[in-house]
Amino acid sequence: MTPLSRYTCEEAFRRLDDYLDHELSAEEMELVREHLEICAGCAREFNFERSVIQGVEEKLQQIDLPDTLQSRILKLLNDQRR
C-alpha cells in the first residue's frame, strides 16, 4: 500500500468487478479510484480488465434484428387482439 492510498492493492482488487460494473457505493468508487491514481500496477490490471469487458461487449453487440421479425411479431399480436 502506498502511504497516500486508503485501500491496499488487495482491497482494491477485491472490488475490481464491482468497480468496473459501477456496483460500488460512491464512497467505495472514490476509494478505488484514489488507489488507482497512485498505484500503476493496479491501474494497469484494471485497465486491462476494462478493455477485455469492452471488447467482448462490442463484439457481442454486433448483431441486428432480422428485417421481418418485428413486423411478423406485431402482426401476430394484432391477430390476437381480434
Binding site: F13, D17, D18, D21, E23, R44, E45, N47, F48, E49, S51, V52, I53, Q54, G55, V56, E57, E58, K59, L60, Q61, Q62, I63, D64, L65, P66, L69, Q70, R72, I73, L74, L76, L77, Q80, R81
Partner: protein
C-alpha cells in the same frame, strides 16, 4: 435445435406464472402500450435469444414465442416497473423450459481453478505488451465476434447466461438477479467466476487461431 412450443392455443403455463412485477398490479398496460414497449426492447431481446440459442432461426422462434407469452400475461406487468427485465425473464424461462440440454458445444477447456487476471498474465507471459496497442483490445479484435460468442458458449450455462446479460445488455446486478430469479450475491459470484472462465476460453481460442503467435512475433520485432 431450440424446441419451440406452439403457444397459439395454450393457456398460461409455468413460463408466465408468478410474473407479476408487483404484488397487485393496480394499473395495467394497454395493448398499444405493450406493443410500443416491446418494439423498444426487441433488438436487445433478439440479441439475447441469439446468444442463448446460437442459431438465427431458433432465436427468431424464441423471441416470437416470448412476445406472445408476454402479450398474454401483460395484465401481470405493472407500468412503471422494469419492462425489459420482465420480458427477459419470460424469454429466459421459455428457453430453459424448452431447449434440450446437452447441445452446447462440447467443452474443450478445463475451467477448474482458473486464476484471476488470466488473460493479463498469459498475455504478459507471451510478451504481449502495451506498445501502442492495448493487448486485450488487439487480442479480442482479432478473435472477432463469432469466436467471442463461441467462447461464451463454452462456459457452463449458469455462468454463460449471467455473462451474456451483463456484457450484452449491461444490466445492473439486481436486474440480472430479477431476470434469472436468483439472489444478487449469486449473480455477483457467477459473474466473477464466469469472467475468469471466459478469459481462459478466449485465450485458448486465440491460441488455436494462431493469434497469440502472430501478436508475439509482432511484439518481438518491435
Amino acid at each position: 435445435m431450440y424446441a419451440i412450443c406452439d403457444v397459439s392455443d395454450e393457456p398460461m403455463t409455468e413460463v408466465v406464472e408468478g410474473l407479476t412485477s408487483t404484488e397487485h398490479a393496480a394499473v395495467t398496460l394497454s395493448a398499444d402500450e405493450f406493443q410500443s414497449m416491446l418494439v423498444d426492447v426487441l433488438p436487445a431481446l433478439y440479441r439475447y435469444a441469439f446468444r442463448l440459442t446460437r442459431n438465427r432461426a431458433d432465436a427468431e422462434d424464441l423471441v416470437q414465442d416470448t412476445a406472445l407469452r408476454a402479450f398474454r400475461a401483460m395484465a401481470q406487468f405493472e407500468p412503471g416497473t422494469n419492462f425489459k427485465a420482465w420480458i427477459f425473464r419470460i424469454l429466459t424461462r421459455g428457453f430453459w423450459a424448452n431447449h434440450r440440454r446437452g447441445q452446447r458445444r462440447p467443452n474443450t477447456v478445463d475451467f477448474d481453478d482458473t486464476p484471476d487476471l488470466y488473460l493479463y498474465a498469459r498475455s504478459a507471459e507471451h510478451g504481449l505488451q502495451w506498445r501502442g496497442e492495448d493487448p486485450a483490445h488487439a487480442l479480442i479484435d482479432r478473435l472477432g465476434a463469432e469466436r467471442v460468442a463461441e467462447a461464451i458458449g463454452q462456459l457452463p450455462e449458469e455462468y454463460g447466461v449471467v455473462c451474456t446479460l451483463c456484457f450484452l445488455e449491461e444490466f445492473a446486478y439486481h436486474e440480472v438477479a430479477d431476470v434469472l430469479e436468483v439472489p444478487v450475491g449469486t449473480v455477483r459470484s457467477r459473474l466473477h467466476r464466469g469472467r475468469k472462465m471466459l478469459q481462459k476460453a478466449l485465450w485458448y481460442l486465440a491460441q488455436e487461431a494462431g493469434i497469440v503467435n502472430e501478436l508475439s512475433k509482432r511484439e518481438a520485432k518491435a
